[in-house]
């Protein structure tokens, strides 16, 4: 075969396969949007589109960049890698965020401009200030315990045998797998209260408490401790997240460094603080940041358990209540903007961590 024919064959194969893949993508795109289609086939087509389609997208864009004049290639290529993410985020998060910010300067029906009225309403309202105070407490207490327990557990479980470790980790992880509906019931059977005369207790806490000879307590009505009782639910849920991510980071700490420290006579405690912790510090920041933001946004726990009554309201729950229950788009959006702004200090810590990681290289 002459080199020319070979070139043509390769070229034909290239074109043919491109068209075939394209046709497959088009077919599956039409197919998966059809709600009547067979679910099994939809899953397969979707995975094909999701994996192959995304790979093809990046490969195709990379291929296009290769065709650019060399001096532009290096400038354009990073945008090929971040482009799809930025595009999707622009539509699904940036646009709604701008939309929300605009709404926060409008009235309850988003008809007229009201300036800063919504914000002055919030900062002069006693209940709103209580929700701000509570949110601050949540943001300090929950991440502290979730990350602390998660880190301790990941470190300790790492020292166990493989099967024991897997089982122990699954137990901490399990709350994450329970849906919010399930979690609400789990904690109903913990905090449930029946006054004397309403039959026996069905909540564990009151079961124990009355078993000790006390009168039953309506835990979720005990201000200000009820806030703590609600936080325990989120700690229970989020520790699994911290544990899984931190465990993966601990596993990635090179064995050689630990062994070297051990030979130098360091005990487990010293190894943890001098070797393991510095190595996974950036992951700890990541996990803490993620949980802080999750806690900021928490609303369903409060919404389901107390509805924000009895001094338990938090900012995100107020946002949902104002926006959807009270149909006051202005107040709801203003609470959302408070959420956005409050996260700036957390981001500042991350910028620092980002720089530290890059300088270490």
């Amino acid at each position: 075969m002459s080199p020319a024919t070979r070139l043509w064959l390769v070229r034909a194969a290239w074109i043919g396969s491109t068209i075939a893949t394209g046709a497959a993508v088009v077919w599956s795109a039409g197919f998966i949007t059809d709600p009547e289609a067979n679910r099994g086939l939809v899953v397969i087509a979707a995975i094909a589109l999701g994996v192959v389609g995304v790979a093809l997208l990046f490969k195709g864009m990379d291929f296009l960049v290769d065709r650019l004049p060399a001096r532009y290639q290096e400038a354009v290529r990073p945008w090929v890698f971040v482009g799809p993410a930025v595009f999707i985020l622009g539509i699904y998060l940036v646009y709604p965020a701008i939309n929300t910010t605009v709404l926060s300067f409008k009235g309850r029906n988003s008809q007229e401009w009201v300036g800063l009225q919504n914000f002055t309403d919030i900062f002069t309202d006693h209940d709103s200030l209580i929700s701000l105070r509570n949110s601050l407490l949540w943001v300090i207490i929950v991440p502290l315990f979730a990350v602390g327990i998660g880190l301790a557990f990941a470190t300790l479980a790492d020292k166990l045998g493989r099967r024991a470790e897997a089982t122990a980790k699954s137990i901490i992880f399990m709350p994450m797998a329970i849906s919010m509906v399930g979690a609400a019931i789990v904690w109903l059977f913990v905090y449930s209260f029946r006054p004397p005369g309403f039959g026996s207790q069905i909540g564990v806490l009151n079961g124990l408490w009355t078993g000790l000879g006390n009168n039953p307590v309506a835990w979720l009505l005990q201000e200000p401790w009820n806030n703590l009782y609600l936080m325990i639910i989120l700690i229970w849920l989020e520790t699994g997240f911290a544990m899984v991510i931190l465990s993966a980071a601990i596993k990635a700490v090179p064995e050689e460094i630990i062994e070297a420290a051990r030979i130098d006579g360091a005990n487990d405690w010293q190894i943890f603080w001098r070797v393991t912790f510095p190595t996974i510090a950036s992951t700890v920041v990541v996990v803490a940041t993620t949980i802080v933001i999750t806690v900021w946004k928490v609303f369903d726990i409060v919404f389901v358990m107390t509805g924000g009554n009895f001094g338990t309201s938090v900012v995100a729950q107020r946002m949902v209540t104002e926006f959807f229950t009270f149909r006051n788009a202005g107040h709801g959006a203003a609470f959302a903007v408070i959420l956005f702004v409050a996260v700036i200090p957390v981001m500042a810590i991350n910028v620092r961590q980002f720089r530290i990681q890059e300088e270490r290289r």
Partner: protein
């Protein structure tokens, strides 16, 4: 080589264009002639099964394809779908107060535009209920479907009869009876205001039933429309009347302090067993679902007593709203709200009066929303008695709607609820009503 590069570039562009075109394609296939739409509402569980059962009977009879979607966070969902430009064709809302905001968004079709006979509907479903759907433009937007009934008091019949108590006719009798029970060593009342995020609502029903009797239907209308302030002396008086029971010495099982902490689902439990830990409970007809299994027979009920000779019928209800103007849909809704199909919705079998049977779900009954729905659509004597009371109230325009469902949500789903909680926990009445008044949104 340069050529290939450009060729590859073009091919890829074509592929991307094809993908884009495919995504943009309208792939939905239109059904034949069948009228097909989704009805959206709040019921879930057995109530939703009954709705599906009703629609199945209807679809089979009329050859339509209507499905029901129920959601536990209905109000929020509906708001999102309407604001997002994707409203359902037809929905039914438990809170008439949510109707007019949708009208302001231009999302609803008025009854006038759909060709409903307003005068006839006012005669059938009561003018009071029809007026709840009138918005700023003076047109009607709400179609009354089926009510629920709250002006009843459940009691433990065996214990009641054994002690020789009589059904109280007036509120004074009710208070006197309660005092009698206490002196007989009984606890008269069970209360449970706990309801997660909605804690406090069962208390608002008490105030409403007292206001409509003590101050009359006209005042009641002014009250929920905020033509009189919430801290009007009449309202304070209603709280004080309720206080005669709530704060009566030994009247409340567990004491008033525990009322907010007791869930409404738990509240009937002590009324059962012998001897019962309480004799009476005021709650909507739905509460029978929470009676202990196998002991339901012990409970019976009597109407909320009169005050100053005034009776009243207070309840909530589901109101249909229409987002899509389609004559076929209008005909279907006219069927649903009429006496013939209302009978199918009434009970599992449709009783002896239904032409099409019932919805087929045991334990679910829906009260009549049309004055001509026969009491024979119901199976039990208890339901027949309540149904008769409701149809009479509708025919005489004496049915009033739960006021907290008609007030702005900041009050009706906010400060009124929390106000009831504060009140049971010792906050003085005047302070409670002043706080609710202060929370009433302006403009």
């Amino acid at each position: 080589m340069k050529k290939t590069r450009i060729g590859g570039f073009l091919i890829l562009l074509i592929v991307f264009a094809m993908v884009a075109a495919a995504c943009g394609d309208d792939t939905t296939t239109t059904e034949a002639e069948k009228t097909s739409f989704v009805l959206f509402g709040a019921p879930t569980g057995a109530e939703a099964d009954a709705m599906n059962g009703f629609l199945q009977v209807y679809n089979e009879d009329k050859g339509t394809d209507i499905s029901f979607v129920g959601s536990s966070s209905f109000e929020e969902q509906l708001r999102i779908r309407v604001d997002g430009g994707n409203p359902p064709a037809v929905a039914f809302v438990p809170q008439p107060g949510s109707i007019c905001p949708f009208v302001e968004l231009g999302a609803l079709v008025s009854l006038e535009d759909m060709g409903f006979d307003i005068a006839q509907m006012e005669a059938d479903h009561s003018k009071f209920w029809m007026d709840l759907g009138v918005c700023d433009d003076g047109k009607h937007y709400g179609i009354p479907w089926f009510p629920n009934f709250k002006s009843i008091i459940f009691y433990n019949k065996p214990a009641f009869d054994a002690a020789g108590y009589e059904i109280p006719a007036t509120y004074e009798d009710l208070v006197a009876l309660s005092a009698q029970m206490v002196s007989d060593g009984q606890t008269p009342w069970c209360f449970g205001f706990g309801s997660g995020g909605a804690t406090g609502w069962p208390g608002t029903d008490w105030i409403e039933d007292i206001v409509v009797r003590n101050s009359g239907g006209e005042f009641y209308g002014k009250w929920f429309r905020h033509e009189v302030p919430f801290n009007d002396p009449e309202i304070v008086e209603a709280f004080d009347l309720f206080g005669q029971i709530m704060f009566g010495e030994g009247f409340v099982n567990g004491g008033p302090d525990n009322v907010a902490a007791t869930t409404f689902q738990d509240s009937p439990l002590p009324m059962f067993g012998s001897p019962p830990s309480c004799m009476m409970l005021k709650q909507g007809s739905f509460i029978s679902n929470f009676f202990p299994v196998g002991e339901e027979d012990q409970a019976s009920f009597f109407p909320f007593p009169t005050i100053g000779g005034n009776t009243g019928a207070m309840g909530g209800g589901d109101t249909i709203i229409v987002f899509k103007n389609d004559p076929a849909i209008v005909d279907i809704i006219k069927d649903w709200i009429g006496a013939e199909w209302g009978c199918v919705l009434a009970s599992p079998s449709g009783g002896t009066a239904s032409l099409h049977g019932g919805h087929g779900v045991e334990g679910v009954e829906r009260l009549p929303g049309h004055k001509d729905i026969s009491v024979d659509c119901y199976e039990t004597e208890g339901s027949k008695a309540i149904a008769a009371q409701v149809t009479e109230a509708l025919a005489t325009n004496n049915f009033v709607f739960d006021a907290s469902d008609l007030m702005p949500p900041e009050v009706g789903q906010g400060s009124f609820w929390t106000g009831m909680v504060d009140w049971t926990r010792g906050t003085p009445t005047q302070q409670v009503v002043d706080a609710v008044e202060a929370s009433w949104p302006t403009g």
